[in-house]
């Protein structure tokens, strides 16, 4: 809504009257109020009881991981539903799902930084945290799903007395590099970004242990210009390193499938399709986290409807790419005149596991496409929250459809089989939700969820030049 008639009488302070867009940050914030608000969440002495409740619940669910993994190590991969021909199941699906979710955080942190999209400042911290924890959850699966996990280190290229290296033509060997790079860069980027804020927390903390803890973490941050210059350079450098990762990591993951020979896997559309899908599910997860956070921690003025709107727009864009990908798959399975492709797609849609495909289309394409084009939906907090779950379910089903339906009915009809997940599959998967939530709640309590320094950089006060006509004495209280 770019043009308007007479100015309406009641003005929502959050809406910019010229553009009709929501503001990125609520008006009225000062440096002090921003710091107080965000640091207050961390440094409060009264942890909300709901936080304890949530943590306890998450920990309980996370013990599912411990139980499932212990049983797995004792008995073997056979406790899951994997079999021949479906030799990959929940473990790989979950792995790809979690890694995909992580990509949004990196995109927000890195790519949007390079594109100078200031609105990402308030969401990038917890989005990056989401990435780290998602990668933690994802990373356990490649190790657990192998038959002899105690030898998993053989996938690493280390010089050994056997004089054997990993087989580098294998996409799984590439995965090792992709995921480890991703994990390490993400942790470094996330941590370095938090250093100024740890400094703030160190300075504001009352409790000696907190002072000590944040003191260690802030690595002696003084807030000097030199520090800031280095900080900005480091951020840009890491953003530059992380940007290709957003594309390359999930591309490499997609090669697990694209390089294989199975119909339904062996397709060149997977790299862009997977990356788009990853960003899609990642943004959905960011919304899943952002909406409760802004509600419970009263951050609506920092994470505004503008952010939700923008994230919904990104979801719409990537969701459309994903929809295009699905459409192309169907089209090419016919156009290719390849019986393998045709049967694979026909079977995917109408075979015994066809229900999964239609759930996928409904949750990934039909519902989002039917709603996200409308602004009203994009700024409806409740709808976005529900939709974020729907999309994540849809993205999980996408990997399920890809992994399971391509495998269980492939080339030789004599080896067609079926896939039925067992309770250990579910326990491990649901346990990782608990693990993720547990880690995230700890993060919410112990680290600044929203970057203090970056928000302050967005305030109108920063546009005041010292010594100019509109100079203002910046007092200590104002800081």
């Amino acid at each position: 809504m770019a043009t308007q008639g007479p100015i309406p009488e009641i003005l929502d302070p959050m809406i910019d009257p010229r553009t009709g867009e929501y503001a990125v940050i609520a008006p009225g914030h000062t440096f002090k109020s921003v710091t107080q608000k965000i640091a207050g969440i961390v440094l409060t002495a009264n942890t909300p009881i709901a936080w304890f409740g949530g943590l306890f619940l998450a920990a309980t669910i996370a013990t599912g991981v411990l139980i499932a993994v212990t049983w797995l190590f004792l008995k073997g991969v056979g406790i899951w539903g994997v079999t021949i021909p479906g030799a990959w199941g929940f473990a790989i699906i979950n792995f790809v799902w979690w890694i995909g979710i992580g990509h949004a955080g990196t995109l927000i942190s890195a790519i949007l930084l390079l594109f100078k999209q200031q609105w990402r400042n308030s969401i990038n911290r917890f989005a990056e945290a989401m990435t780290i924890f998602a990668v933690c959850c994802a990373g356990i699966f490649p190790l657990l799903h192998i038959g002899r996990p105690w030898l998993g280190y053989w996938l690493l290229p280390y010089p050994n007395s056997m004089n054997v290296w990993p087989q580098f033509r294998s996409p799984l060997a590439w995965d090792v590099f992709a995921v480890s790079t991703y994990a390490s860069i993400s942790v470094v980027f996330w941590y370095i970004g938090m250093i100024p804020d740890f400094g703030t927390l160190r300075d504001r903390a009352q409790w000696p242990l907190a002072k000590y803890f944040y003191g260690i973490l802030s690595l002696g941050w003084r807030g000097s210009t030199r520090h800031w210059i280095r900080y900005e350079s480091a951020s840009l450098l890491l953003a530059g390193l992380s940007t290709p990762l957003v594309l390359s990591v999930h591309t490499t993951i997609s090669f697990d499938f694209a390089v294989a020979a199975m119909a339904g896997w062996h397709t060149t559309i997977f790299p862009p399709y997977f990356v788009a899908g990853a960003v899609y599910s990642g943004f959905a997860m960011v919304l899943t986290l952002a909406i409760p956070i802004r509600k419970f921690y009263h951050l609506e003025d920092l994470v505004t409807l503008r952010h939700l709107d923008n994230m919904a727009k990104v979801m719409l864009a990537t969701g459309s790419i994903v929809a295009y990908g699905y459409g192309m798959e169907v089209f090419m399975s016919w156009y290719s005149a390849s019986h393998w492709e045709f049967f694979m797609m026909w079977n995917r849609m109408f075979g015994p596991m066809g229900w999964a495909y239609w759930v996928l289309i409904l949750t990934n394409i039909a519902i989002p496409q039917a709603t996200l084009w409308w602004r009203k939906c994009r700024v409806s907090v409740w709808w976005l929250f529900i939709l974020s779950f729907i999309i994540n379910i849809g993205m999980w089903f996408e990997r399920f459809v890809i992994v399971v339906t391509s495998l269980y009915r492939d080339y030789l009809p004599s080896s067609w089989g079926t896939y039925r997940a067992t309770k250990w599959d579910y326990m491990l998967f649901i346990g990782t939700w608990g693990m993720f939530t547990f880690l995230f709640l700890l993060f919410a309590r112990l680290a600044p969820m929203v970057p203090i320094s970056e928000i302050r950089m967005m305030l109108p006060q920063t546009k005041i030049r010292p010594g100019g006509a509109d100079a203002e004495v910046v007092t200590q209280e104002a800081l």
Binding site: K75, G76, V77, G78, I79, G81, V82, T83, I84, P85, G86, A87, W88, H145, I146, G147, R148, P149, L151, G152, W154, L155, V164, W165, P166, Q167, R169, S170, P171, L172, A173, V176, D256, V259, A260, A261, M262, S338, H339, W340, F343, W346, F350, G351, P352, L407, D410, Y411, L412, P413, S414, S415, W416, G417, T418, R420
Partner: protein, 1047 residues
């Protein structure tokens, strides 16, 4: 087991100083022995009793000081839980880790036995005595332990071939549930005591009155001679032979036709037309003469432009592999088969069923046209009418001869058993000596054998297991396995083989010879008896002849000569057609009559045609299922003559309507052993002595819940599809056809390629060109044909397999395999051979059900056409050893690599188990150890393992290796002896077992090798060639020879 007394010097005063350890009054081994053979409640009862004794408590104190400390042992709750944990280990042999292992010194040979080189196997000849005729075998012994059986390549009848039962019988030798000592009234006893008791009791009777022997079919001439001796000494003693699957109809028909018992010999090499009347002669050695007949059939069934191809017609109830190899198959219920047989013999009667009439006319025409070069085959499971019809028609056949019976004492067994039971009920039987039979399990239900049995004061059971009968017998004597015994037997053609033991009886087992010898002269052993009897048929210098017979595995010039018999008398009229649903009782294709129920390999083996494993079912047609409103996996109640059993339902494609087939041999109790106990249902409970093959008047009732059947293949209903019906090229019948989606796809993807004889003559390259005679980019084909030139490869430096070894100057080896689909009869011999050779694990029912069976080689059965009367194709599928293997590319640790000779090897030690290789294998021949499947604990099973093949642990992928251990062994040997490797030196296990020579393996760089010639044929094709994996295993497309009248 005694622990050595230890003295510990201790200067410091400590609370508990152990100065000596006195040996416990009871040892763990004794505990095991006390608990041996008990199962279930009896086990716990015994264990509990034992646990109360002070000797046991002392033992516990010594072995498990902490657990059995005074307080805990007194507390009954913790004692019980402790016993629960330890209970299993007391009874099972060798569960290591729970007890202190005894110190056992290991000595190397000071004086090594002659010819023994440790690590180098030795081969000995013997035979597998089977009721239908002995199968001559060559046993591979590793340090005097038999580890593999092969056919004896020099034997005139079998020529080195073998079958599934023979291959599987090796595992029975090492069965951990075998009976390990004689028992008297359940307590451990001594064989000498038995001999004492038995011989004195029989001597007291004077004439042998009241002494009855109930034996399995006697196949040993020596045993027959011993029986004659017993009879001479004790004229009133009686011998009854009974096996549930026997040859009664053939005997009765032979008597009626020719006045005496004769065996039929079919020389299928001379038959252009073969008609089988419910005779599964390609199924296994359950049919007498299976090995030579299958070989001859396959030989005549090879497509050769210059030689006429044979044609097989089959009339049967239960679909079998023979039925599916047939060009024309007629599915009839048992009474209709009788009518058909009568019409056939009569030559003129018309049948009500128009399809049957058409079939009959065509068959008779064909038989007439063959000019005597035909055979009508009837077998042990064919009805009397079928047998008689076969005799009548075969009178004018040049391919059928008659000989004296292979069994030295032929009889009509069911009738004999009936009279035995009558005697038992009348109290005439004082001693019932059962030699290798299990009548409490498999006797006809109407005889109420248990009641009669309870009237016998002394029952002696000679058996390999304390089975259903052994448990209730007064005396149980463990029977020696044939690999542990001296005996002899005749094979199908009459040639005598002397069966020599390969290993000392593991558990002190005795043979039937020993039992009979007790009454004649206990001092003479079985060996002496066999040797004495051998003097009757070994000509010339006896010691030389004896040694030659043992060396060769057969005695020359003992084959039967054909008899000339008069014209057969006309057959009795067939009984009137039964009403209602008929039931057909068939021996199980994997377990026979139940004797292999405790054999893990045989239970796990997917059965022929139905691909069921670890189960049996009521097999019926789709129409009957819909008529009764049944679904697969439903449990139903079958009632026959007031007796009822509960079975699951499975659709058998091609089964006739209004009839049900059940397989015998399952449903055994826990006494059968840990493998066989409780598997399947017992069809013997319905079977009566008046109708052992088929009966009418069966009623089916629903409502017994569901039962998830274990089936490994995809013919069943879940994989039918509307898609298959839309895209078929074959004309549909009027009623809604039901098609196997899998089978349809197999055709569509050119996995199965075949043509009729005429088509093949017209277009010899049909396997590559299809109908249009041009190279087509058809699914599954390789557009440039099967041999892609290397110049087109993306990897131009790819190994070309044409290197010359610089030191020897020889061209390198290039291994490959070719499988002739025309010859494969789906008999499963190759699969069991592979299991035995490669230490493949048995995974059990639940794992097989979800698809984790570990067989490296499988027989894929694809049903083509309407499932009411389909064709079926058998395709052995194993690792194709692709030159451009997908699995090799995707293994992240490089655990699967390609050798310079072309084998795709699996490095078990490197495999971490990502299973990517399995995903990338389009043939899905890779098998993964999802759990620890290999049995690391059971001691006796360790003896069977092939030491040249790793036993795989959990988390490791495995697959066919082209028996690389055999290749390497021959290469090493050839290298040491400076000779070239000839074609035929290396035989893979599957190749060696195959009765029809369908599988050929060899060096593709050798132009004279059989495999090179097979691959040079026009019909040679690769499965999934268009994926460009370049498999080294190729298949020869099938050719069938249908009758134009019936097409």
């Amino acid at each position: 087991m005694k622990t050595t007394p230890m003295e510990m010097q201790s200067t410091m005063p400590q609370p508990q100083v152990v100065n000596t350890i006195t040996p416990a009054k009871l040892t763990l081994a004794e505990v095991r022995r006390k608990l041996e053979g008990t199962t279930g409640k009896r086990f716990w009862k015994n264990l509990d009793e034992l646990a109360g004794t002070p000797a046991f408590q002392e033992l516990m104190q010594e072995e498990f000081p902490r657990q059995a400390s005074a307080g805990e042992w007194v507390d009954s709750v913790s004692r019980r839980s402790f016993l629960k944990v330890m209970g299993a280990s007391f009874a099972l042999a060798g569960l290591a880790g729970c007890t202190k292992q005894p110190d056992e010194p290991i000595f190397p040979y000071v004086k090594q036995p002659e010819d023994l080189v440790l690590g180098r196997p030795m081969y000995f000849a013997t035979a597998h005595p089977f009721p239908t005729g002995a199968i001559p075998v060559l046993v591979k012994s590793e340090a005097f332990r038999p580890i593999k059986l092969e056919g004896n390549p020099e034997h005139p009848a079998s020529k080195g071939r073998s079958d599934a039962f023979t291959q599987g019988s090796l595992l029975d030798l090492y069965d951990p549930d075998r009976s390990q000592h004689p028992r008297f009234r359940g307590e451990q006893a001594d064989f000498g005591d038995f001999q004492q008791q038995f011989s004195s009791a029989v001597a007291k009777t004077g004439t042998g009155e009241g002494v009855y022997f109930l034996s399995e079919t006697i196949t040993s001439p020596t045993l027959a001679a011993q029986w004659k001796q017993v009879q001479a000494k004790y004229p009133q003693a009686k011998l009854i032979q009974y096996e549930p699957v026997n040859n009664d109809t053939a005997r009765a028909a032979s008597k009626a036709a020719f006045g005496d018992y004769y065996d039929t010999q079919y020389n299928l090499a001379d038959a252009d037309v073969i008609l089988s009347l419910d005779a599964d002669f390609l199924g296994g050695i359950g049919f007498p003469g299976f090995l030579p007949m299958a070989a001859a059939y396959a030989d005549r069934h090879r497509f050769d432009k210059d030689k006429p191809m044979n044609r097989l017609y089959v009339v049967e109830t239960m679909p079998t592999v023979t039925g599916y190899k047939a060009e024309h198959r007629l599915a009839l219920k048992p009474s209709d088969i009788d009518a058909f047989a009568s019409a056939l013999a009569g030559g003129s009667a018309t049948l009500t069923n128009p399809d049957a009439q058409k079939f009959l006319t065509a068959v008779l025409d064909d038989i007439k046209k063959s000019g005597g070069r035909f055979a009508v085959v009837a077998g042990p499971q064919s009805s009397l009418a079928a047998q008689s019809a076969a005799f009548t028609l075969n009178a004018s056949s040049k391919a059928v001869t008659y000989t004296e019976t292979v069994a030295p004492l032929p009889s009509e067994q069911t009738a004999d058993l009936k009279s035995l039971v009558a005697d038992m009920n009348a109290g005439k039987v004082q001693w019932l000596v059962m030699l290798g039979t299990n009548p409490l399990y498999n006797a006809p239900a109407d005889l109420n054998f248990l009641d009669a049995f309870n009237k016998v004061p002394n029952a002696v059971h000679l058996g390999t297991h304390v089975d259903e009968t052994g448990f209730y017998s007064t005396w149980h004597i463990p029977k020696a396995h044939y690999l542990e015994s001296w005996t002899d037997a005749r094979s199908y053609d009459g040639t005598i083989s002397i069966i020599q033991p390969m290993i000392d009886p593991l558990y002190g087992g005795k043979s039937a010879h020993d039992i009979l010898q007790t009454l004649i002269d206990p001092s003479i052993s079985a060996f002496n008896a066999v040797q004495e009897n051998a003097k009757t048929y070994i000509t010339g210098d006896f010691p030389t002849g004896w040694r030659k017979a043992l060396h060769d595995g057969w005695v020359a010039n003992t084959a039967f000569t054909p008899k000339t018999l008069g014209a057969p008398k006309s057959a009795p009229a067939a009984p009137a057609s039964g009403s209602g649903i008929e039931i057909s009782f068939k021996a199980d294709p994997s377990l026979y009559d139940g004797r292999y129920a405790n054999n893990g390999w045989m239970q796990e083996l997917p059965k022929q045609v139905t691909s069921m494993s670890w189960d049996n079912a009521a097999l019926m047609s789709l129409d009957l299922m819909s008529k009764l409103g049944l679904e697969e996996n439903e449990a139903i109640e079958l009632t026959l003559n007031g007796r009822t059993i509960i079975t699951p339902v499975l659709m058998a494609p091609g089964h006739p309507n209004d009839s049900v087939t059940v397989h015998l041999g399952l449903g055994r109790t826990a006494d059968a052993g840990r493998v066989g106990g409780g598997v399947g249902f017992n069809a013997y409970l319905l079977r009566t002595s008046d109708a052992p093959l088929a009966a009418s008047g069966l009623t089916v009732a629903r409502g017994q819940g569901t039962y998830d059947l274990c089936v490994t293949k995809v013919h069943n209903i879940e994989h039918r599809g509307a898609y298959a019906q839309r895209d078929l090229e074959h004309p549909l019948s009027d009623k809604d056809g039901t098609f196997s989606l899998a089978g349809h796809e197999a055709e569509e993807r050119s996995i199965i390629r075949y043509a009729t004889y005429d088509e093949a003559i017209k277009n010899p390259d049909f396997a590559h060109t299809g109908a249009s005679e041009t190279l087509v980019n058809k699914v599954g084909y390789n557009p440039q044909g099967e041999a892609v030139p290397h110049e087109e490869s993306f990897f131009p430096d790819a190994w070309r397999y044409d290197h010359t070894d610089r030191s020897t100057g020889k061209l390198q080896n290039r291994w490959g395999m070719s499988i002739d689909l025309n010859s494969c009869i789906g008999c499963n011999a190759c699969i069991i051979g592979c299991y035995a050779e490669n230490n493949i694990a048995v995974v059990g029912r639940e794992q097989v059900k979800i698809g984790r069976i570990m067989q490296w080689l499988r027989i894929d059965t694809y049903f083509e056409g309407d499932l009411h009367a389909p064709r079926a194709h058998f395709q052995p599928m194993l690792c194709q050893h692709c030159e451009s293997a997908g699995c090799e590319q995707v293994c992240p640790v490089g655990a699967t690599v390609h050798t310079p000779e072309g084998i795709n090897t699996m490095v078990y030690n490197r495999c971490v188990g990502t299973r990517y290789c399995s995903n990338n294998c389009p043939y899905k021949v890779r098998r993964f150890n999802f759990l620890l499947y290999s049995d690391y604990d059971t001691e006796s099973l360790k003896f069977q393992r092939n030491p040249d093949v790793s036993v795989r642990s959990r988390g490791v992928m495995e697959k066919c290796s082209y028996c690389i251990q055999r290749i390497e062994a021959v290469k090493i040997d050839a290298d040491k002896n400076n000779r070239a490797i000839e074609d035929g030196d290396i035989l893979t296990a599957c190749q060696q077992a195959c009765p029809t020579n369908a599988i050929v393996f060899g060096n593709l760089n050798d132009p004279a090798a059989k495999v090179t010639q097979r691959k040079a044929e026009e019909r040679d094709y690769q499965v999934l060639a268009d994926l460009n994996y370049r498999p080294r295993t190729s298949y020869t497309a099938g050719v069938i020879n249908p009758n134009a009248e019936l097409a």
